[in-house]
C-alpha cells in the first residue's frame, strides 16, 4: 500500500483513510441492496441518544429500593431488566453481579468488547483498550488502583469475562447515608463505572456535579 499523498489544495479535503473505506463499503452494500442508507441514522441516533448508563442506574436504584425486585434481578436479570423497558441487542442474556463488603465484581471482555448496551449504552474507550482487556484478568487490583479504587485486602475481587452470549451488570453497594432516598435520587449516585465494577457508587454526602434530572 502506498502512502503518498496528493497535495492539491484547491480541491475538497480528502477524507481520512478509514472514512473512505467505510464510504466505499457502504456504496457496494447499497448497490447490492443489502443496506438502506436512509436507515443508518436511526441506529446511530438510538445508540448515541437513547441508551446509556442512566438505564442501568435505574435498574440498580430499583434493586436497592425493592427487595423483591432485587431478588428477581439476581435470579433472572434478563427478565428483570426487560421489565424496566430496557431490551435489545447485547442485552439478551444478562447476569447481575452483587457487590458486597466481601466480594467486588468487575467486568471485562478480553476478546472483543461485549458490553450490555441496553443498560449501559456503548462502552467507554478504555473498556476497549488492549491494556484493560488483558490486565483486568491478570492484575485486577492494580487496574482498579489506576481507577482510584483501593479495596480492603480481605475483599475478594472477581473478574467476569463477557461473551457474545452472556453480559454482566454489576450492582454496586448502596452507599451509607442514602436511606429514604427516592429511586430517582439514588440513580444519581450510580455511575457507569460502578456498574462495570471499576468504581463505586457516589458518596451521598459529596457535592453533585451531575445535572441529570
Amino acid at each position: 500500500m502506498s502512502k503518498d499523498h496528493d497535495h492539491d489544495h484547491h480541491s475538497h479535503a480528502i477524507p481520512s483513510d478509514p472514512a473512505l473505506r467505510v464510504q466505499a463499503l457502504e456504496t457496494v452494500l447499497v448497490e447490492k441492496g443489502l443496506v438502506d442508507p436512509g436507515a443508518l441514522d436511526v441506529f446511530v441516533d438510538y445508540y448515541q441518544n437513547e441508551v446509556g448508563p442512566r438505564n442501568g442506574a435505574r435498574v440498580v436504584a430499583r434493586a436497592w429500593s425493592d427487595p423483591d425486585y432485587r431478588a428477581w434481578l439476581f435470579d433472572d436479570a434478563s427478565a428483570a431488566i426487560t421489565d424496566m423497558g430496557y431490551a435489545g441487542r447485547q442485552g439478551e442474556d444478562m447476569v447481575a453481579l452483587e457487590n458486597t463488603a466481601q466480594v467486588h465484581n468487575m467486568v471485562v471482555c478480553t476478546l472483543c468488547s461485549c458490553y450490555p448496551w441496553p443498560v449501559l449504552g456503548l462502552p467507554p474507550v478504555w473498556y476497549k483498550s488492549a491494556p484493560y482487556r488483558s490486565r483486568a484478568v491478570i492484575e485486577p487490583r492494580a487496574v482498579l488502583a489506576e481507577f482510584g479504587l483501593e479495596l480492603p485486602d480481605d475483599t475478594e475481587v472477581r473478574v467476569w469475562d463477557s461473551t457474545a452470549e452472556l453480559r454482566y451488570l454489576v450492582v454496586p453497594m448502596r452507599p451509607v447515608g442514602s436511606d429514604g432516598w427516592s429511586a430517582e435520587q439514588l440513580a444519581d449516585l450510580i455511575t457507569r463505572d460502578s456498574m462495570i465494577g471499576t468504581g463505586l457508587a457516589r458518596d451521598p454526602g459529596a457535592p453533585q456535579e451531575s445535572s441529570q434530572t
Binding site: 477524507p15 481520512s16 464510504q23 441506529f43 447485547q90 455511575t191
Partner: protein
C-alpha cells in the same frame, strides 16, 4: 508532572460524557454492521468472532492500544466479514474507495461530491 501511580497516557479514567463516536465514519461503520446483522446476514457470534480475531492481531502489533483505534479495527472486521459472506468483494470496495478519492480530489471546494 503526572502522579507516578497513574499510567502516563491516562488510559483508563475518562470523561463519562464523552460521545460514543469520535468521528462520523465510526458511527457509519457501527450502523452498517447493525443493519446487516438485523437483516440476518450474519449472527452476532460470527461478528464477535471476526472482531475478536482482528483485535488479537491489533493487540499483537500494539499491546498498549488505548482503544481509540477501536472502530478502525471494527471496520477491518466488517470488511473481512463482508468479504467472507460474499456481501462485498474486496476488489469492488477498493475500486469504490479509489473512485471516491478521485471524486473528492476533482470536485471544487464547496461542491457536492458524488461518484460518476
Amino acid at each position: 508532572m503526572s502522579p507516578p501511580d497513574r499510567p502516563a497516557d491516562g488510559a483508563f479514567p475518562e470523561d463519562p460524557d464523552a460521545p460514543p463516536f469520535a468521528e462520523p465514519w465510526e458511527a457509519q461503520a457501527f450502523a452498517l454492521t447493525l443493519q446487516l446483522y438485523e437483516a440476518g446476514h450474519f449472527t452476532w457470534r460470527e461478528w464477535a468472532d471476526t472482531l475478536a480475531a482482528v483485535l488479537k492481531e491489533a493487540d499483537a502489533q500494539n499491546p498498549s492500544d488505548d482503544g481509540r483505534d477501536y472502530y478502525r479495527h471494527w471496520l477491518t472486521a466488517l470488511e473481512r466479514l463482508s468479504a467472507a459472506k460474499q456481501m462485498a468483494d474486496p476488489g469492488d470496495v477498493a475500486a469504490r474507495k479509489q473512485a471516491w478519492k478521485t471524486a473528492y480530489e476533482s470536485t471544487p471546494h464547496g461542491g457536492p461530491v458524488s461518484l460518476k
